[in-house]
């Protein structure tokens, strides 16, 4: 049986080669699909930090994904129309430079995660699940009823945002930008998980009381994990807007939160590469089943229920090295 680490190398190899094949054989569609997998994978890795490693079952990560997306969309909308965004406290007319957009996305997602985290981390269990869900819905309804940026119809941006030197409109170039971020996020997550801070938040998942009793302020730890998690997912939202050159309230919808959660669970909870595998599985399923039947979500639901009732540990667990003393 292949062990998980080797399988992870294979995942990376696939991520590097599939789009290149798509380029060589002139099938740009496959490049777009793989880009989608990478972006959704980043969103999943973000959620996995909170949900998988720290046990914070957030059902509202669409809020961060959507916020990242909307910040990107709004900034570039103003830059394109050369319309003033606001004139106080300083004058700004948006930007279409990714190097400007990314820091703003990161800061605003982190800020949103701080606010939502401060309020919802006061609660635990089912309350936490429902409150994170409710906050995401709040933003969803706000986006629908706020007419300036398209409301329910969404907001189109005409040109993908730019970077110095490279041409981001080229699918393969944009793919490697996303892959770069995926690698950065994996690297950061791996460092975090193995740090003493990481030990603390993983211990919280197992037994919060004990972590408290050794003198760690668990609220602060959980809040920080939640912020990092939300920020990563927000960044994915920004890339997603650039991929589609379109943003609409549907990415803020609770189904988006559910889908990000599905990536984490399908791939295998609390496994670094799990969300990528989950997202890839989801996209492949959508493409293949969607080709046969309009009701592909019916089959997705069935597969998910069977997975949860009988398999329980996700796809990557199939490649886990089994020790003799484990059952």
């Amino acid at each position: 049986m292949i062990i998980e680490k080797v399988f992870n190398k294979w995942i990376l190899l696939f991520l590097f080669t599939i789009p290149v094949f798509g380029f060589v054989f002139e099938e740009p569609y496959y490049i777009t699909l793989t880009t989608k997998v990478v972006i959704l994978g980043i969103a999943g890795i973000g959620l996995n930090l909170a949900l998988g490693y720290c046990g914070l079952i957030s059902f509202g990560h669409a809020a961060f994904f959507g916020l990242g997306g909307y910040v990107t969309g709004i900034l570039s909308f103003h830059a394109f129309n050369s319309e003033l965004m606001f004139s106080w406290p300083f004058v700004s007319s948006g930007s279409s430079d990714m190097l400007v957009i990314w820091p703003i996305v990161i800061l605003s997602s982190a800020f949103l995660a701080l606010i939502i985290g401060l309020l919802s981390l006061r609660t635990t269990g089912v309350y936490f699940i429902m409150i994170t869900l409710a906050f995401a819905q709040m933003l969803y309804f706000f986006a629908i009823s706020w007419p300036n940026y398209g409301g329910e119809d969404g907001l189109s941006i005409y040109m993908r945002n730019s970077l110095p030197i490279v041409n981001t409109m080229d699918p393969l170039t944009f793919y490697f930008i996303c892959l770069f971020w995926l690698l950065v996020v994996i690297f950061i997550s791996a460092k975090l998980i193995n740090s003493s801070f990481g030990m603390a938040f993983q211990a919280i998942k197992q037994n919060e009381e004990r972590v408290k009793s050794v003198g760690i302020e668990t609220f602060k730890v959980k809040l920080l994990v939640f912020i990092i998690s939300g920020t990563i997912t927000g960044l994915a939202g920004s890339l997603y807007t650039d991929l589609n050159r379109f943003i609409s309230p549907s990415v803020l919808n609770w189904q988006m939160s559910g889908e990000i959660m599905i990536f984490v669970i399908l791939g295998g909870i609390a496994r670094l590469y799990g969300p990528i595998v989950g997202a890839a599985f989801f996209i492949v399923l959508e493409q293949t089943l969607g080709g046969y039947t309009e009701n592909w979500q019916f089959w997705l639901g069935l597969i998910l229920i069977l997975e949860i009732l009988y398999v329980r540990t996700g796809i990557l667990s199939l490649f886990e090295k089994k020790f003799k003393y484990e059952k």
């Binding site: 089912v126 906050f135 706000f142 949860i308």
Partner: protein, 305 residues
């Protein structure tokens, strides 16, 4: 003029609240007794509405349709409880969330398969059509009054069921100590099925009654499900009294806020931006209310800490 409008909107809010109560009562009972967080509760709302629309188109009777919504949702509830939900009681919340999320996909697509993607319509019966004068110059829709009346009737019925009957005693015992009542020889899995079916049928009834005002379509249950979550978070999970008060609070706040916030803001702002800001904030108002209540009392108004 404004006082009439206000009174009318207040009644609309109460009507909305009573329907929210039918949803959230089931949700909170299921959580209180079985410890299950059920995202698929909105699907029973949808199933109830579709059963009602089907029977109404076959027989033409609204009352048979209401009966069909109750029994259709209850039958679906029993089947789903026996085949799927039963396996989830001992799992953690994450598994429950995901499995019931998957159930929504399954049921929504299943209904779309059977009935098609176009919305169906359910007609209000003749004698509930039209309006009724309440006070001197206030007239109000008969059907909406009927909804309020039904909601209050069911709230009273639930109160009697929970406090006065043997089944109610078992339900309350189940909320307190599951292991103890099964040790006392009560068939707990049957009790669970009954509670689940009861919750499902209440949701189904709500779906049919709202379906007659709006349209019957796939995905109709999810917006109201999320409002029901807000209700039970505000009221305290597991508390039926909390669900009732939370429902009315959310129903009234939402309805009044959407109508009057833009009007109110016009005092300070120019009309165009007051309308857009007001309607945006109006739609967020109940979530702000929820956040405020959680800051003061993290376990909800009537929740146990």
């Amino acid at each position: 003029m404004t006082s009439i409008l206000f009174f009318e909107q207040l009644l609309n809010g109460i009507q909305f609240g009573t329907m929210l109560f039918l949803m959230s009562a089931g949700l909170t009972l299921i959580f209180g007794v079985m410890g299950l967080i059920n995202l698929a509760h909105g699907s029973f709302y949808m199933i109830g509405a579709f059963s009602a629309a089907l029977i109404a188109s076959l027989t033409g009777s609204f009352w048979l349709a209401l009966l069909a919504s109750l029994s259709g949702a209850a039958i679906a509830g029993v089947l789903i409880e026996i085949f799927i939900i039963r396996r989830l009681y001992r799992r953690d919340h994450l598994d429950q969330v995901l499995a019931t999320f998957a159930l929504i996909l399954l049921l929504s697509e299943g209904v779309r398969w059977c009935f098609g993607a176009f919305p169906l319509y359910l007609d209000i019966p003749e004698n509930l059509n039209g309006t009724l004068p309440i006070l001197d110059d206030i007239i109000y829709s008969k059907y909406r009054l009927f909804i309020i009346f039904m909601g209050l009737l069911i709230a009273a019925g639930l109160y009697i069921l929970i406090t006065k009957t043997r089944l109610g005693v078992r339900i309350r015992a189940g909320q307190n100590d599951r292991q103890m009542i099964s040790a006392l020889g009560i068939d707990i899995s049957k009790l669970y099925t009954i509670v689940f079916a009861l919750g499902a049928s209440l949701a189904g009834l709500a779906g049919a009654m709202i379906g007659a005002i709006q349209s019957v379509e796939v995905g109709m249950g999810e917006p109201i499900l999320i409002l029901a979550f807000v209700v039970i978070v505000i009221g305290g999970i597991g508390s039926i009294k909390g669900a009732l008060i939370g429902s009315i609070l959310v129903g009234v706040t939402d309805t009044i806020g959407r109508i009057f916030l833009p009007e109110f803001l016009k005092v300070f702002m120019e009309p165009a931006s007051a309308t857009s800001v007001g309607s945006s904030i109006g739609s967020m108002l109940i979530y702000i209310l929820m956040a405020l209540i959680l800051i003061i009392k993290p376990s909800g108004l009537f929740g146990k800490t």
